[in-house]
């Protein structure tokens, strides 16, 4: 949901699926609910999110009702295509979903459940800022059917948090994790590495904190300086140092070593989990090419090979839905060649890898020899990245598709 929307074809006003797209009910279906509100905008963030004074009349307290219209539309569209099935995962992301009262998040979950149904043991996650929730809030979520919370911790080092414009007190994170656990929720931590001014020692402190908290799941993302963000402007003006890809690589390797030593295994380029059960099922849905419907302004959806995305501004999103028109801004149905690129690009990110399919054997051999692909897996026709390969996954994908034309 970052940056400008892609260019695509214009969707049908009623939101119906493009011709020739037929959902397969055996494919798991997920829901992704985007909540586009934040108390402050962080300097690095280019996600589709708004502080209260940026909303042009769209109101946070009626958001649940607006999303309800899209849920109704999704139910009709998927139903007409014969693709209804219970939801495998639901994910509330943002923005800061927990800026909404817990009962509103629960109401959206209930609405989805009543339309689509929710499968047994489904993963229901919300993102949260460590300082936007307390025990009572978390207990309410758990009672309302949520199973998991993902805290945007980013770092425990004050000067790093300051550069990122994050406002929470790192001392409080331990307490809020304990509260989430006592409420019965699985806990995941999001970290960001490579913030300008962050040293390897700073990064190590954040990693050590993760071990101390004993969480079962952690995501670590390299900071990407997006165009149009305050951070990008500050770097351009020379106020802070540019990010250094080599340092990013060192930090990634450090994280992978430390997590592995604490029993957290990588299962996706930026995600580590204690067991197969604690992996984020919602996250995997993206890489495995499942179907998902993205609700909310700027949200992206994928059903049976068709991809579409919603208009970005909450006011426009609301206007379209109240006029009975799809909020989708554009869609695409990738060509066979594009689908092959997606298959490799997505499949390579996960630890189980992706079937070699029609890729050039000589290229695979070369990538094995240069230490980017796992040798053993390659012998069985499966492409799995080595650790160096994970750092250079884009190059691996490019090489594989270059020789497959």
């Amino acid at each position: 949901m970052a940056g400008p929307l892609p260019e695509g074809r214009r969707p049908a006003p009623d939101g119906s699926l493009p011709a020739g797209i037929t959902p397969n009910v055996a494919t798991p279906l997920s829901a992704d609910v985007h909540v586009p509100y934040c108390r402050v905008r962080c300097g690095y963030c280019d996600f589709n999110t708004y502080t209260s004074d940026e909303l042009r009349g769209s109101r946070r307290d009626t958001y649940v009702e607006v999303v309800a219209r899209e849920i109704e539309l999704a139910h009709r569209v998927v139903g007409e295509a014969g693709g209804l099935r219970p939801l495998h995962t639901v994910f509330f992301g943002g923005g800061t979903p927990t800026l909404l009262p817990a009962h509103e998040l629960i109401a959206m979950r209930e609405n989805l459940a009543s339309r689509f149904g929710i499968s047994d043991h489904a993963e229901i996650t919300t993102e949260a800022n460590p300082d936007s929730v307390d025990l009572a809030y978390l207990e309410e979520l758990a009672a309302g059917g949520f199973t998991r919370v993902s805290f945007g911790v980013q770092s425990v080092v004050p000067h790093v948090l300051a550069t990122l414009d994050r406002t929470h007190d790192p001392e409080r994170v331990g307490d809020v994790i304990t509260a989430a656990r006592s409420a019965g929720l699985n806990v995941s931590i999001d970290l960001i590495y490579g913030t300008p001014g962050e040293s390897l020692d700073d990064w190590r402190r954040s990693l050590d904190a993760v071990l101390e908290w004993g969480v079962d799941h952690v995501s670590a993302y390299a900071l990407i300086v997006e165009e149009g963000t305050a951070l990008e402007r500050r770097i351009r003006r020379g106020e802070i140092a540019a990010v250094d890809d080599d340092l990013h690589a060192d930090m990634y390797e450090m994280a992978d070593d430390i997590f592995a030593s604490a029993g957290l295994e990588w299962y996706e380029i930026s995600n580590w989990s204690r067991t197969a059960e604690t992996r984020s099922q919602h996250n995997l849905a993206y890489w495995r090419g499942h179907d998902w419907w993205g609700f909310g302004p700027g949200a992206h959806s994928h059903v049976a090979g068709a991809r579409w995305w919603n208009v970005k501004h909450p006011a426009e999103y609301e206007r379209l839905l109240t006029s009975g028109i799809t909020p989708a801004a554009g869609y695409e149905v990738p060509t066979a060649e594009e689908r092959e690129l997606e298959r490799l690009m997505l499949g390579l990110r996960v630890s189980e890898g992706v079937a070699a399919g029609a890729v050039n054997i000589a290229t695979v051999t070369e990538l094995v020899e240069t230490g980017l692909l796992n040798d053993e897996a390659a012998r069985t026709g499966q492409l799995v990245l080595t650790r160096n390969g994970r750092l250079r996954a884009d190059e691996v994908v490019r090489r594989l598709v270059e020789t497959s034309d």
Binding site: A220, S270, R392, A393
Partner: protein, 616 residues
């Protein structure tokens, strides 16, 4: 006010005593074309309504840059004391590279207007052309232009001119091409001072070709000056050097549009059209005569100009190669001094090695190729012809560093030029410093007037073609002007420096340089390439070498990370498009061994240090 010419004389029946042939010698920007415009207006051959600035400059590039590339000849009617005259004005290029064309125009004249900006004084190239005119025994009419400018100082520069050519400062005419002031007197002065042409009207026809232009509609248009006899329409003519015969399909004068006439007589200047398509068939310097009654002795011709500066021209888009070839073939039709042959470069693909008269010639040809033919081009660093003698006595002419022999070398000689630099006296120190650093040897120094100096050096041409002019301009705030003329060859301690990427030679960056400068060149290029070449999947050493000896080294460390950590809430489309874009980018990469180099990196490296160029 002098009278305008009301009864122009008819070509082919004009008494030579009533003809005046003259040219204008001037520096770029000193207002020659504007003065010519006023002459066209005042003599009435272009009416005020159809007048446009720089009327005679036909090419866009000439009009925009304010310089004349090809010579032109225009017949102007004029009257003095009730007697009609035909004045032929032969326009000349002002730049050093076109000395050859200047000398052609001078040979067709009996007089020259020496036109100097009254706010600037004489410049080096004007001086060189003045000497050429004096060598040709031309009558010189000194004129100060732009007297309307507030900064004009005619008193000072009149003295300067008088001291150069003799005579009194009061003989120096003052005009303004812009307002027209003094132009009529100037035309009167031409009639008074320029000698009438001499020739034998009864002798077999002899006409000197002083220019040959290719016209897309009419084929080659040949400009001639008739010396003896007469040329008439439908006449069968013969080129004395090749014995080739043609029929005169059209003959006439420019006034200023081509105007057919009943022929051209003694002393007259005009054009011929024979239907040939290639300027080489109508060679400048050749003598045109009658096929039936040919002359026996040809007029003194010119020697073909030798290319002095070589550069590889490559299309940025490789698929433009055939278009580049076609464009060069077309330019060659009108520019006999352009030389080229196909060349292949690892870094730049297919292109042409081209020989030019000088740096401006290179620049103008490149610009014409880009503008008139819509090509995007990159030019390799200019080089000069070297004469290499190997240990086993073989002699090789090297116009491209890639031709430099690999074995033992006995000697190398390089072309040397005599350089004249004109500048305000305050810059003498800095100019001498620059010339000395380029292996210059001081020949002498002379004051022109009170505060301007002519400094003369001999210098290797190779030192000048690199970036000498840029440095000269920037060190003198643009006040210095430069001229050079070939002055033989000298042996020098030269070496070829190669640049290697992961052990593979990158041909476009090889250079022949003086031994003492080899290290500096090696360091400069390796550092530059290190900055420009993106990191690869492996470490890439960049080396500068003389033969097998490495003299400078840099290295680009391997990429360690290029993966996008996150896919933003399911925006797979964006991520895929990023990868597709990278993949497209790779297709435009040039391969040097295993190293992928974006063409832009090579181009930037060849264009050199932009920051240094931007300094005032």
């Amino acid at each position: 006010m002098s009278p305008r010419a009301r009864t122009p004389l008819t070509p082919a029946s004009t008494d030579p005593a009533k003809i005046r042939n003259f040219c204008i010698i001037a520096h770029i920007d000193h207002g020659k074309s504007t003065l010519a415009d006023r002459m066209l207006q005042i003599t009435g051959i272009v009416d005020d309504r159809s007048m446009r600035a720089q009327y005679l400059d036909r090419m866009d590039i000439e009009r925009e840059r304010g310089i004349t590339i090809k010579s032109q000849a225009v017949r102007l009617p004029w009257e003095v004391d009730g007697s009609a005259y035909a004045l032929n004005m032969i326009d000349t290029p002002g730049h050093v590279d076109f000395t050859y064309e200047v000398s052609r125009s001078l040979a067709a004249c009996e007089g020259a207007i020496l036109l100097v900006d009254a706010a600037q004084g004489i410049e080096a190239q004007t001086l060189a052309n003045l000497y050429l005119a004096l060598d040709n025994d031309l009558a010189i009419i000194p004129v100060l232009n732009k007297i309307d400018l507030p900064s004009a100082d005619p008193e000072k520069y009149a003295k300067e001119l008088a001291s150069l050519i003799g005579g009194s400062p009061s003989d120096v005419l003052r005009v303004s091409g812009k307002t027209g002031a003094g132009v009529e007197e100037l035309l009167d002065r031409v009639v008074e001072l320029v000698p009438a042409p001499q020739g034998d009207p009864t002798a077999p026809a002899r006409a000197m070709i002083f220019d040959s232009v290719y016209d897309a509609y009419r084929g080659v248009v040949t400009y001639v000056r008739v010396v003896d006899g007469k040329l008439s329409p439908r006449q069968k003519i013969q080129m004395m050097s090749t014995r080739a015969t043609h029929e005169l399909l059209e003959i006439g004068v420019s006034s200023p549009e081509p105007t057919p006439s009943q022929g051209l007589g003694v002393g007259e200047v005009g054009y011929l059209i024979t239907g040939v398509k290639d300027v080489r068939q109508s060679k400048v310097g050749d003598t045109v005569t009658d096929q039936v009654k040919p002359a026996t002795i040809a007029l003194d011709g010119y020697t073909d100009p030798k290319p002095m500066v070589f550069s590889g021209l490559y299309p940025i888009d490789g698929s433009d190669y055939p278009n580049l070839r076609e464009a060069l073939d077309k330019l060659k039709l009108s520019d006999a001094s352009l030389n080229y042959e196909p060349e292949t470069s690892v870094a730049l693909g297919f292109g042409f090695r081209c020989g030019f008269l000088g740096l401006l010639h290179l620049e103008i040809i490149t610009e014409r190729l880009e503008r008139e033919f819509g090509l995007d081009l990159i030019a390799t660093a200019p080089s000069v012809p070297y004469a290499v003698t190997t240990d086993d006595g073989k002699f090789i002419e090297v116009t491209n560093p890639s031709e430099y022999p690999t074995g033992k070398i006995k000697s190398v000689s390089e072309p040397v030029v005599k350089v004249a630099i004109l500048a305000p006296k305050d810059y003498v120190g800095t100019i001498m410093e620059l010339c000395q650093s380029r292996r210059g040897i001081l020949l002498g120094m002379e004051y022109l007037g009170e505060d301007r100096v002519e400094i003369r050096y001999t210098m290797p041409l190779g030192e000048i073609v690199f970036d000498f002019f840029d440095h000269l301009k920037s060190r003198t705030q643009g006040y210095a002007s430069l001229d050079y003329e070939p002055s033989g060859e000298q042996e020098a301690d030269l070496v070829k420096v190669d640049i290697l990427l992961q052990g593979e030679q990158v041909d476009a960056f090889s250079a022949i340089v003086h031994k003492e400068k080899a290290y500096a060149y090696g360091v400069l290029m390796t550092e530059r390439l290190k900055k420009l070449i993106p990191r690869q999947q492996f470490e890439v050493p960049i080396q500068a070498a003389i033969g097998a000896r490495i003299i400078a080294r840099e290295s680009i460390s391997a990429i360690r990370k290029d993966v996008l950590a996150k896919c933003y809430g399911g925006d797979i489309t964006r991520k895929r498009k990023l990868l597709e874009k990278q993949k497209e980018g790779k297709k435009r990469m040039k391969m040097v061994g295993r190293v992928e180099v974006p063409q832009e990196a090579f181009i930037a490296a060849l264009q050199g240090d932009e920051e240094a160029k931007k300094k005032p």
